[in-house]
Symmetry: C3
Subunit: 662 residues, 3 copies
């Protein structure tokens, strides 16, 4: 199952979330006609249909869906059919108030929006399972069925529930993870602050407390919560696999948000799916999007599905920017370039009512005679010409290591700097790599690193020694590594690796950090190289490491800010501060050069993204003005089949998809 889309659809996944139950049947015929005109190959159906399909417990009404599925089949459009369990009908909470989730302060989250269920609730799980069985059985052999869409954006709004049902499930999970209560006490360091438990029965969720919570408790609760949601997914998947063994199963991640651990989930998806909502008002947004695409692709090392994006504006920010003409096409190709085999939208037809009526759609409130419809339909036609691309892969030689549990731990309290975030620190490094034009995989620390020439570790705060040893071995065997401060500090139970920081990487880096010296909010520190450090400084004592740069003002003046250590056959560079953008770019360019990890194109204008996927080269001009880009001889425009000369002109927001000479 290397490429789900090539295998099942044979075409790019192209389409949208389709909610025909919101419209009279009289609209459906126009829908089918417009979908065909737009080149739609697949739609996501039924995501929020539970209340319509099961208006009362056990009473199912599939009539309308039967008719939709038949029409889709007739139109040659695949259905990514939802299990419909993302949002229970009001009758569930009315009959089972205990299914409603609770916040850490005890607030009950009511019906009236969506995702109002406790993931550990037996009543929710039972009703969901019955529904999935009914849906799977009814449509198992339907010719429109292309894929299963389980739940929806798991954990987006309720990543953690703090109710008593969850508390009981947590205790079971803890017994499974830690064994007995003594082991729990040891793992959680409960001799601190008189927190020692004498029985699992005394443990609850990390609810609101008078002061800082136990960090191990907090992170374990996030692990448990991710697992509780995964259990919901797996229970549904098991039914689907049994009833329809050959139909691929997915669920759509909203990845970079830290709700669930996608690295834990990915092995259980047949294909990785992702919802991507860059903000046109944010100039960094395309780099952030690239990061998440590189993360999604690397989860399986195979093509993934862009299951949702906006044709133009979203509706949930304070000021919801529209996408300028060309922007949607440009950003769609960014996803394809970075491994997507599907380009789908939320939503097909813009809702008349409800909370997402101002989210853009392929068919807006104003109807199909609109740029939203024209631009999406034009893209659908283009993608049909790019089918040879399906299933092809990206060959990245640089890895950025990101660990979900480290991110959770950094969200905690009582840290040297309480405002570190994994997103920000990852982005500070990734941005430099993006500008350098190299292909990057965003991987977990347990990934196989041997294929990479350079591994960047922005902030692996929490890591067990056996995992850390994988990074150590990577360098010993000849790898190049760049690591930033506050990595290798605690184990997975938030216990410090003793003997001097960073306990897990002292030998690798050839240094010891004695104390952290975070800078004041907004403060900077001068560097000997002429740049500045931000956020952080620290008291580094080099051992075998050579000093690359020093602090030159403040109490740390003269002490090392960056170092470089030859270790085994490899090299480990260390950053004891967060350098400004230019300095970070210089540091990573040097590391890339030392490691022999080159860019896709050796020369390109600023603001142009060049990505290679298989034998295809994507040039994406994020500028508001024209540019032209030098290309290798023999390159062919993949959309027109025409040869491209030695310089490709690109319009403002223009795209070139080219086939490289063999």
């Amino acid at each position: 199952m290397r490429s789900v889309v090539r295998h099942r659809l044979g075409r790019f996944g192209f389409g949208a979330d389709y909610n025909p139950e919101q419209w009279p049947e009289s609209v459906w015929d126009e829908d089918m006609r417009l979908m065909k005109d737009a080149g739609v190959t697949m739609v996501s159906v039924g995501i929020f249909s539970w209340a319509v399909v099961e208006p009362a417990p056990g009473e199912y009404d599939f009539g309308w869906l039967d008719r939709i599925m038949d029409r889709l089949a007739a139109a040659g459009i695949g259905a990514c059919l939802a299990t419909m369990t993302a949002s229970p009908p009001p009758w569930l909470a009315h009959r089972h108030p205990e299914t409603l989730p609770r916040r850490a302060d005890g607030t009950v989250l009511s019906v009236g929006s969506r995702q109002h269920y406790c993931p550990s609730s037996p009543a929710y799980r039972e009703h969901a399972a019955k529904l999935v069985e009914a849906v799977a059985t009814r449509y198992a052999d339907h010719p429109a069925l292309a894929m299963w869409h389980v739940g929806n954006e798991y954990g987006c709004h309720v990543p953690e529930c703090f109710c008593d049902t969850s508390a009981a499930a947590f205790r079971t999970w803890l017994a499974d993870r830690h064994g007995d209560v003594d082991a729990l006490n040891d793992a959680w360091s409960t001799t601190f602050w008189s927190q020692r438990y004498s029985d699992f029965a005394e443990v609850g969720p990390p609810r609101v407390a008078p002061s800082f919570p136990n960090p191990a408790h907090v992170v374990d609760y996030k692990r448990f919560s991710s697992t509780a949601l995964l259990e919901c997914y797996l229970a549904e998947k098991e039914i689907l696999r049994r009833v329809t063994p050959d139909v691929p199963v997915t669920t759509n991640f909203v990845g970079a948000w830290h709700r669930i651990d996608v690295a834990q989930w990915a092995p259980h998806l047949d294909v990785v799916s992702y919802d991507s909502y860059p903000d046109p008002h944010d100039p960094d947004t395309v780099i952030q999007a690239a990061f998440t695409y590189d993360q999604m692709r690397a989860l399986h090392g195979r093509p993934w599905l862009l299951l949702e994006q906006a044709p133009s504006a979203v509706n949930w920010r304070t000021r919801n920017a529209a996408k300028s003409p060309g922007e949607m096409r440009l950003w769609s190709y960014q996803a394809v370039a970075r491994g997507a085999d599907a380009v789908m939208y939320f939503q097909w037809r813009q809702s008349r009512g409800g909370a997402e009526k101002f989210h853009s759609a392929m068919v807006p409130h104003a109807g199909p005679d609109t740029r939203a419809y024209r631009e999406t339909a034009a893209l659908g036609a283009e993608l049909a010409r790019l089918e040879p691309l399906l299933g092809s892969e990206v060959d990245a030689r640089v890895a950025l290591v990101m660990d979900w549990a480290s991110g959770w731990a950094l969200q905690g309290s009582a840290l040297p700097a309480g405002d570190l975030s994994l997103e920000e620190t990852n982005f500070a490094h990734y941005r430099a790599l993006w500008h350098a034009g190299v292909m990057v995989d965003v991987v977990s620390p347990t990934a196989d690193l041997s294929r990479y020439r350079l591994v960047v570790v922005p902030n692996l705060y929490s890591v067990d020694i056996e995992v850390a040893q994988r990074l150590v071995a990577y360098v010993r065997d000849g790898g190049h590594l760049v690591m930033s401060f506050f990595s290798g500090i605690v184990d997975s139970d938030q216990r410090v690796h003793l003997g001097g920081y960073p306990g897990a990487f002292r030998e690798l880096l050839g240094l010891t950090v004695e104390e952290f010296w975070p800078l004041p909010d907004g403060g900077t520190v001068a560097l000997g190289s002429g740049g500045t450090g931000t956020v952080w400084s620290e008291w580094v004592t080099p051992g075998t490491a050579e000093v690359l740069d020093t602090f030159t003002d403040g109490a740390l003046a003269g002490r090392p800010a960056m170092t470089r250590n030859s270790f085994g056959a490899g090299v480990a560079t260390y950053l004891g501060t967060r350098p400004d953008r230019d300095t970070m770019a210089a540091v990573l360019r040097r590391a890339l050069s030392d490691a022999g990890a080159g860019p896709v194109l050796s020369e390109k204008p600023d603001g142009v993204e060049a990505v290679q996927r298989g034998q295809w080269l994507f040039l994406l001009n994020h500028n508001d003005h024209e540019v032209d880009v030098p290309l290798p001889a023999g390159t062919v425009d993949a959309l027109t089949g025409a040869p491209v000369g030695d310089r490709a002109p690109l319009d403002a927001r223009g795209v070139l998809v080219a086939h490289l000479p063999g």
Copy 2:
């Protein structure tokens, strides 16, 4: 009952909230003497006296109030007697904890401040009714009784209660509004996000939920809540009307705050009353005050009562500014100019204890030998000379349309711009009208518009087609209209008028809006006219409309920003952005000129407000320096009876009340 005050008192209402129960009887004699010296004609009595008058359920103690009423009668001072139900005594919640209101997150609001009752609570309503019956019966024939003051500032602190009692009452209200549950599902668009209800029993208040609530649910709950409070008012009014058929009944609005729908309430008041608290630290405050006075006056199209204002500072802002010498007089005349037949204060004698002890009073902590007492007493004497003015009306030829439910809907979530507020958008337009010096009525969209030469519609987001047609007919019949963006978008159940925005006004405006393009927070867009647009831009496709101004930068460059459409016998101008102050002023000046709606005075210095009420002209100098103002020949100073020359000199913060020649 054209003018309640002229009819009942025959004099300006002038006085204050009077809380003699806070003071020993020894103080009361001084109170009467000072009130007479200050020209007091009416005081509000008993607003917070429930706990004193009914110390235990059913045990009434009216002795002190009898003595106060007798003294007032003896002094020739009218009593605006409260029904005393604004704040129940502690014993009510102690005996009936379910009377306490709850927030959307379930938090119970306790006793200890005021207004701690659930408006739907039967126990509250029963105890309130018994009290009102007792008060009404006791004082029905008392010579001091001038008016009934029901409750106090309804909804000020608890505009909505989310308790189970309220939930049950809401279900009854919903059945009444929508009929059956299918109609509710249709109105609320519940096919969205699996929100379909199978029974009214499943519906509750829009309590805290995991994500965005259903917008129709939210707005219906605000409608219900305004109605629940109105029912409290009406239950009391019914008793009063039965016992004292001839005594006018009012309650004091705190209007611009969006708590209750004053347009819904106004028909049930015999006279509109309003509490006004401009902030001396805010340079825009006098324009905002003018807006609310124009709104209050237009509710009945008759004089209204300024039932509360501060003699100097209030106590509830972070920094509570005192009114500078002359400022209180100036602002009082602003209210009279805009239709007030009463000028009253909170409060008579500054409390010694409690939460409002630092709110200024006619008799401050320092006693009557103070500027607060001297300035208020001087005003009392002046007002006595202006009695001919009582009952006279303001003849406005410009209307600004404001709809409560649109304002509620804009407070919601998941909108193109989440930070639009009806106050701000109304004010952006009203400010330009104020500077233009025209008289404005602030009216609801169902008002009779035929009398107006220009109608301004800043943001009528939510409007049913039949209501929208009133505006369309107004223009077709020759009216001039200026409408700003995001009007006519949804119906009263928050369902989009399909086919292109603004669905309810496309034909009137001669254009279609395809997409909204809100600007980034703080961002602007250049206009062809040389001005700038703020907050918003959009993709306008003109039909019959001519383009008045265009966007000149960004992705919308060259597209229309403002248009003008001849429609029937009238003209409709449309603003697709919020222009900067100067541009807004120019646009509205042109519209006023086209419509033939002229200012009160054709020429006046900046910062001088000129208002005409009946045959009286008010000149209000809001500047810190002297000015002089050209006047029509034959104008007479209404306070001195002396003729005013062709130029009236005004001191800093000075006022001229003049009688215009016949």
Copy 3:
């Protein structure tokens, strides 16, 4: 018991919080060795050991503590032994959920951090008492026992609990304070807003309410809460006194935070203890620290104990700065100079896990070969040479009056300026005194003032007349007093002293304030002296007072801003605004000069703190650069015994402890 430390230890208290239960016994030997090397004389043991010592109700396990106490005794190190009641074990809340505290909004504070108990809970108090009895009995005669440490940082996280148990205790407290319910109604001014209670049973905590709470209710609840915590302390102290009549008892204050009224508590401590955590990122931090030390010393007028400070960084700010080399020593001497007989740290050995693992320690994660250990050990050695200093006192001739209840009242709502804080206003005055180089006692308004030449009253908002009369008498008898605005306004039940502000001090100051005119946020007002006023202005009418300075812009232009009144044999200066720093400095320098209250040194460089304690002079150079300071002839370096010349050179962050000539 003039000096607990001299009496019990005979040496400086020097050491740290010691939590050996967090470590395997194999570490303990190293601990003892390092402690001796570092000159440790005392450690705080057992503060958070309840859960370890009593793993189940009534089952005690003291084995590990016996062994620690024996080792300490063997090493000649005293134990400041905790009663262990600061944080109950999880089993207590599991068995008695009602012991968990509640916030004002009803949120339950759960186990998982620390201090999760309702101070009024009988179950908590009973379990605590049994534990204290067991601990006291077991170690009564242990040779290591030096002092009792009751609880820990009382009220730090839960200064007030709003549960039903607390409500019942509050009612009892109210009956005791006020007598009957009529007296309560009178004290609380409950005729306001219909708040009259007919029975104590109707009174609860000031829980979340619809609007502003009753200020008297709020302040009484803070008084009650401070008392409830004090009862916990006293119950434990009583047991300790009975079992070990000769062992001094203390608890550590976290004073300037306004949680508990330390002036109420101090008489019940045998020695005052304080935890001090200045922020190295804050340039004002050393002056703020000096303030708290002067407050702690003045509580008993005797030496106090610095029971906790950080060797370097803390862990609970957003960015936790490390102390630069020399800074910890410098700041430690600041405490000693201002009366500390102990210099102790949190913590001995940096925790491996839990919420404080990033708080610095004498023995960091990196071990003893670190500057943290070296710098603390060096200080230990120095202090041993300063034993003659123990027990000596500071002779301050200036007092700054601070009243806890006034501070609580200022935290309330519905004030002329809602953002006044006692910390800020005290600091504005204290800073000027610090720069002037005089010794100051921070005292309560009931202190004996006769010894002071100048008394500064920054903001004594709430004061009963009989207390105010003490200040009046002080001036009448020849004292000099400086008082700032918003003093003497209300009594201890938040009732205004009528007749003009400041009611309690009108005659003393020779003026009347008619109205407060707070400035806009960030606004200033010009003064005739050339300076500016901030925060506040007011309408002052001088009587006998002479005008020192006037407002020169705004509506108060020409009116008094500062005055000076000769009263009896003394002088009272009044500030009707908060002058800018330079003006405040000038005003207080003049007052000091008039009062004859001179500085420790007549001449010293900026940034050098000169403090005299007994016959010892401390020079503390807070600058980053060297200075030298002129000294009296005959001064001897107390650490070296060498004479100091007429100018003492001080390194950057350097310290001189000198003995002055007899």
